[in-house]
């Protein structure tokens, strides 16, 4: 239901993004980055419009989207929790954070809970190595994390809408 809404009103917004760029194939990744930023994923309708605008076949666009890890075909949860698995965080125990998160939310990395509230990502280095291990909830960064701290943060968001 929600998804349809996004796709309908998406048409106009996607056009606005497209108009900023010349019809040059090399702009594909820039455009996809903007769409991803706007919706949190790349809706099919948007892919069709990009395909027509740049004269690139859908298959090729799909190929680019699935190649780059920043692009996703499914919407992320309202709260997207990313655990950093960069080396600095890994040697400080971030794997335990990720395991705990998967255990509590009962989903795997890259997936979203059925109610659309949470999704889990494993990222490579958010660049806050001084705070390792690190996880983020949307844009909020939680440093020097422990399983206990993760539990507290998760409880907080579970009680929120």
């Amino acid at each position: 239901m929600e998804k349809n809404c996004v796709e309908e009103k998406g048409t106009k917004e996607v056009k606005e993004i497209l108009e900023k760029y010349k019809k040059d194939k090399s702009n594909l990744i820039q455009i996809l980055n903007e769409i991803q930023e706007k919706y949190g994923y790349i809706p099919k309708q948007a892919q069709i419009e990009v395909s027509e605008y740049l004269s690139i076949p859908m298959a090729e666009i799909y190929g680019v989207i699935t190649f780059y890890s920043r692009f996703t075909l499914e919407p992320k949860g309202k709260y997207n929790i990313s655990v950093c698995l960069g080396t600095a965080c890994f040697v400080k125990g971030s794997q335990a954070l990720l395991d705990r998160l998967k255990e509590r939310l009962k989903i795997e990395e890259g997936q979203t809970t059925a109610d659309g509230k949470f999704s889990i990502d494993a990222t490579r280095c958010v660049g806050a190595c001084g705070l390792a291990p690190v996880f983020t909830v949307n844009d909020e960064v939680y440093g020097k994390a422990t399983v206990k701290k993760l539990d507290e943060v998760l409880d907080k968001y579970m009680n929120q809408d």
Binding site: I29, G63, F67, G86, F90, V91, K92, V126, A132
Partner: protein
């Protein structure tokens, strides 16, 4: 648009104004409160700290004090960092609510806020930045302006000799002279492979073509590395200026910076810098009134490690999947859109202006015989002073880890240092005194790489670390060539078996065979180096692999499936804490009697190990 005259005026006037940033004895009544706005400190609320300082100064109507955002000071472990100049007072781990006290005590009453002063590893309190052991062995060339200027103010960059090298090059040097100077300096590519920069410039200059390009590789994908990001965040103009110098030298009028979209602060500062440089006429048509024109555009990456490989990066700029091209031809001849293209890494560019201004001989006097200048390392992992360090080539690993890094925390022992990320290797204790340069690192089975340096203590399992890197390579393999796409996957499966206690005797042989085959047959640098973490850990920690296979034992206890958790009867007091905390009721025992773990029920979660007050339970 500014004339050359006007730029000179800005430089002279601003330099006087900013003398207090670098001169502790500056003759001024002003004070500057510098707050780090690098990614690390920003994550721990430095923007709020800046706002609070500004608000309080306004409320109290205090004049002559300015609050400045800067790039990374380097000592990320102590962030957020606040430095007050000219006196150079260093406050560590500042919280937004500390601002009031700093203003009242330090600024208004002239006293130090002692509780916020930074403590060195030996617990001595340090008043000033340069008194810290962390900084004593460092030499800053690429990071020269980081932590000194506001990266979003072009005037501050100009004040510290910004765009002076470009002026010198455009008004008094021929392209060949510039290339000769860069060659003479001995500068080598800082992205990893260490190809001589002057040679790369020369090849691109000699290549025939009506259009040439200059590209900056800022796709810093090595997990745990943040050198390039810090340079872009702290001193973006130094990269732009160097790209222009490169453009003049090779005959290009267009530049691209390919930067990770995961670095929003760096991208934003670069865009600000480009806009300001255009406004001043330092980018665009007829720079400094000469025939030379140059402009730069940003291209965002989208999270593919392989795009750090130069030909994959070009594919990505062109809007396609980032799959490497077969070399030769090299980008110097056939690069972006088939045109001759020069590609250098961020840190390489950051050295250029100083080479031009101070001369190639000065630069070549720093470092070792074959590796000149300095190298920036992102020091992380199990080390006290996590942060960004820049040291002359030839500094030993021991100096970096123990003198600068302050050693290993929690009373543990050094086990290995990992350089070069997924393409590099682990360096054990016996090589701590190797002077670091390109050759010495590859001789001991690692590589310089882009500069990630992860320290590991004795609680780490080296088989598990190798597995971690292979897991990375498998998920980042672009899929173009079979050795990398399928070979690394098979290697990972073997390592998984080892960590789960299911490996067989001949797995070690298979692993070595695969490693050497992939090294010989993958088409790009990433595939060829993918087996390195396995090869180097096998070389120095072979007995750990053998233990995993023969005895199904992991000495560090990190491989959960192999962990054997036991209660030491001589230490157990029968308090029952472990029993109460065990999530699966695997522990039995009467009060004040020695307790026991049933290995068939135990899930090896380690909760009891952490909870036991008598340290009687061991993995």
């Amino acid at each position: 648009m500014k004339t050359l005259e006007e730029i000179h005026q800005i430089r002279e006037q601003k330099r006087k104004e900013l003398d207090l940033r670098v001169n502790i004895k500056a003759d001024t009544r002003e004070k500057h409160i510098l707050v780090c706005r690098g990614t690390g400190c920003t994550s721990s609320k430095s923007p709020e700290i800046i706002n609070n300082f500004r608000r309080i100064l306004k409320e109290k109507d205090i004049q002559n004090v300015r609050v400045i955002q800067t790039g990374c000071f380097g000592l990320c472990a102590k962030g957020p960092i606040v430095i007050i100049r000219p006196e150079d007072t260093f406050y560590a781990m500042v919280k937004p609510e500390d601002c009031e006290e700093i203003i009242e005590k330090h600024i208004q009453q002239g006293e130090l806020v002692e509780r916020l002063l930074c403590k060195d590893i030996d617990n001595t309190v340090v008043n000033r930045l340069d008194e810290l052991n962390f900084y004593k062995k460092q030499k800053r060339i690429a990071l020269k302006n980081c932590g000194i200027i506001d990266p979003e103010q072009i005037d501050e960059y100009i004040a510290f000799d910004g765009y002076k090298a470009l002026e010198q090059v455009l008004t008094s040097m021929t392209p060949d002279e510039v290339i000769e100077e860069v060659s003479k300096s001995g500068l080598r590519g800082r992205g990893g492979a260490g190809f001589p920069t002057g040679k790369k410039w020369l090849f691109t200059r000699q290549a025939e073509g009506d259009q040439k390009y200059v590209v900056c590789n800022a796709d810093e994908g090595d997990p745990g590395a943040f050198m390039d990001r810090s340079i872009l965040e702290g001193d973006p103009h130094s990269v732009l200026e160097a790209m222009e110098i490169a453009g003049y030298s090779v005959g290009a009028n267009k530049g691209y910076i390919y930067v990770r979209a995961e670095y929003p602060i760096a991208v934003q500062r670069l865009q600000v810098a480009i806009n300001q440089a255009r406004d001043y006429g330092l980018l665009g048509q007829n720079i400094f009134g000469t025939d030379f024109s140059f402009d730069v555009e940003i291209r965002l990456g989208a999270g593919a490690f392989v795009c750090g490989e130069e030909t994959a990066l070009l594919e990505s700029i062109e809007g396609r999947r980032g799959q490497p091209r077969v070399k030769p031809p090299y980008p110097a001849n056939v690069g972006l859109w088939g045109k001759p293209t020069l590609i250098n890494n961020v840190e390489t560019y950051a050295n250029i202006t100083r080479i031009i201004l101070n001369g190639a001989d000065w630069y070549a006097s720093i470092g070792t015989e074959k590796s000149k200048g300095t190298k920036v390392f992102a020091l992380g992992g199990n080390v006290n002073n996590i942060g960004l360090v820049e040291v002359p080539m030839g500094t030993t690993l021991r100096e970096i880890v123990f003198d600068i890094g302050g050693g290993i925390p929690n009373g543990r022992e050094f086990k290995a240092a990992q350089t070069g990320g997924p393409s590099g290797g682990c360096i054990p204790k016996e090589h701590l005194d190797t002077p670091i340069d390109y050759e010495s690192l590859s001789n001991i089975g690692s590589m310089m790489g882009s500069g990630g340096l992860i320290v590991m203590d004795d609680s780490k399992c080296m088989v598990n670390i190798a597995r971690f890197y292979l897991d990375f390579t498998v998920s980042e393999s672009c899929g173009k060539c079979t050795p990398c796409r399928i070979g690394t996957k098979r290697m990972l499966e073997i390592l998984d078996r080892m960590c789960e206690g299911k490996a067989e005797e001949d797995d070690l042989y298979k692993l070595e065979k695969l490693a050497s085959n992939i090294k010989k047959s993958a088409i790009c640098g990433l595939g060829q180096t993918a087996p390195n973490p396995v090869i180097s850990t096998l070389k120095y920690f072979r007995e750990e692999y053998e233990e995993h296979i023969k005895y199904k034992k992991c000495r560090s206890g990190q491989c959960k499936a192999l962990a054997n958790i036991e209660i030491d009867p001589s230490k157990c007091k029968g308090c029952g804490i472990c029993k109460r905390n065990c999530p699966v009721n695997a522990i039995t025992g009467e009060p004040r009697q020695v307790h026991k773990i049933d290995p068939d029920i135990c899930i090896k979660c380690g909760t009891c190990v952490d909870k036991c007050p008598f340290k009687a339970i061991k993995k």
